[in-house]
Amino acid sequence: MTKDDKGSTATVETSEARDKGDSPLREFGANLVSTPREFRDSVVRHGKPTSDRAKSQVVMSNFFLHILPVRIHMHSLKAATTLGLGVATFVLFIILCFTGVLLMVYYKPAVDQAYGSMLDIMNVVPTGRLIRNVHRWSAHAMVACVFLHMARAFYTSAYKKPRQFNWVVGMGLFVLTLALSFTGYLLPWDQLAYWAVTIGANIAQSPREVTDALGVTGVFDVGGVQKELLLGAHMVGQEALIRFYVLHVVVLPVITAILIGVHFWRIRKDGGMVRPAAADAPPVAPVLSAEPAPLKTYGLMGLMKGRTPAVNLELRNTVTAWPNALYVIGAATMVTVLSMLLLGFWFDAPLKEMANPAVPENPAKAPWYFLGLQELVSYSAFMGGVGIPAIVVLGIALVPFLDREKEDAGVWFSGKRGKIVTLYSVLFGTVTVVGMLCFTVKFGWLRDWEATAHVPQIVITAFNPGTVFVALFALWSIVVVKVTRSTRMGAIALFTCFLVGFVILTYFATVHRGPNWDFYWSQSDWPVH
């Protein structure tokens, strides 16, 4: 399209040579000399990206860049819009794939060799320790980034029409990220891995509490089927290890990669990043740079969503993606990679003693993002481990379909009123959860009281402190909807309460639960045994 001058003169020379009737050998020589340039021109079909037109071509004609729009709104590139969390999550996924494949070179998914290969990776394999550390810390960071990215999308109303489906895809990616972490947790085959996964597999079996109470386990045993599918056995053993390995290295990463593709695709199809109406108002930058007219004319056509025809409106306050978006993405990538490398360099990923099916780790704590659930299963397994997570995930996934208000999209917390609701919800969530935890630590729960010690199991199963929180949170958000007459405010109230509940339960189970899942003020108070 826009060959530079030297390229065109070279072509002229060779054709002149042929006209003169020179030997084909000279033509061959000339071709040989110009091959590197010809090769470059075959890969990159445009000249240097100095004009807006060439910058567009860079993005359009490059496979890896074509997920980006040619021009991108300046609001989307501001740090405060996204905090770079989506990019960071994606970069962490790439780091995890890269380090994961490297670890696969040495790791052996067999119960008698897995732990040994972990020791090899940590102590013998060149750079093995760093690669494993980076893999582990990136996994933790990815879970954290997914949480934060979801919160960002929520508080800036990025889930609203036309982005409802992408919010649901995001929830799918959230669950997949947790599943990837959980399956990876077993592979080191140390004590923590063994007992955390034993507990996890038994949570998968816990619907049996309900089917047992209804007396239908004989014909309809969901819990049993889930556990058998997961473990391929009655206990965590070789069958479980190979299943978790296959899920962790093939099944879940492939599904995740596909869903990430869908997620990115939908961002483009749904009109890019959400932005407030104010961001479109006055043009703050020159729209197009002056450039010589191209030899061939191009029409730049954009499809716009909206009711009125607006000429060139799509270009207002936009800049070319090359290089502006790439600077932003590059910055987020470098910060992410650097932090993971530093973490991996300074801190070793934990590896306990080899798995011993005879003696449970005490306390057997799951990774931090499951500790909130572990606190809830310590009251009743089904509600805490299956029922409440399912209700919360479903509730959050349905938010865009229940809250369809269009006002203030793209504004953090939807403005001042939303900030106030968020603040009150943090207060309400904190008081509820902390109060409930203080209550159960001080007075115990159903089985510890004379009057309720012998209630049927189904009551114990259903009446978990978590059930109480979730009911109170739902009630609170209904009250907020009534008072503010806004479903968006209700959604903010519910989401904030869930977030606060998650944070407090995670903190509580991390710091204040010790051996036998008893309450301790700090780990230094744990009994020595």
Binding site: D212, E228, A233, V377
Partner: protein
């Protein structure tokens, strides 16, 4: 002329919800969906094991005479306690019915779970904590050569005692 008249008549009389072509098209599409779903379900049958690696859940514990009266013996591999009382043998699984941890036996003979604090009395009955039921009483039999055999996957009613 007759061609235009026929569909009018039929539409008045039968009011078809779909034309024949629509019906055949939809039937073909849904058959393909059903075939795909069934094929996937069939493929999912593979990871459902028909034989479990622990299918040999029966283990010989030793000759009855080897255990003194009123003694308690723990078998870590089988994850069970063998009790010999005044009137015979019974066995309790040490796997917590809550989430599968191994319960500890206290000095008084009660059991407690290190993972989430479920508590059981000396007979294995649930006394506190989140577990949905008590410890499993494991089936005991005597093999032809006179050894005690425990089957950890077979539950017997509480109080079942083997006289041997």
């Amino acid at each position: 002329m007759s061609e235009t008249k026929a569909p009018l008549e039929s539409s008045e009389r039968f009011k078809p919800v779909a034309t024949r072509r629509d019906f055949l098209g939809l039937a073909a599409a849904w058959s393909a969906v059903a075939a795909f779903v069934m094929a996937m379900l069939g493929a999912m049958r593979l990871p459902m094991p028909s034989v479990f690696p622990e299918s040999n859940s029966r283990a010989k514990l030793g000759r009855p005479a080897a255990f003194a009266k009123n003694s308690t013996t723990y078998f870590p591999k089988q994850r069970l306690w063998l009790f010999r009382g005044e009137d015979g043998f019974h066995a309790l699984s040490s796997v917590c019915p809550h989430l599968g941890c191994i319960v500890e036996r206290k000095e008084g003979g009660q059991f407690s779970c290190p993972c989430h604090g479920s508590k059981f009395d000396v007979e294995g009955n649930l006394t506190g904590g989140p577990a949905p039921k008590g410890l499993v009483s494991v089936e005991l039999t005597v093999s032809p050569e006179g050894q005690l055999v425990a089957d950890t996957l077979q539950e017997v009613p509480r109080g079942t005692v083997l006289n041997a």
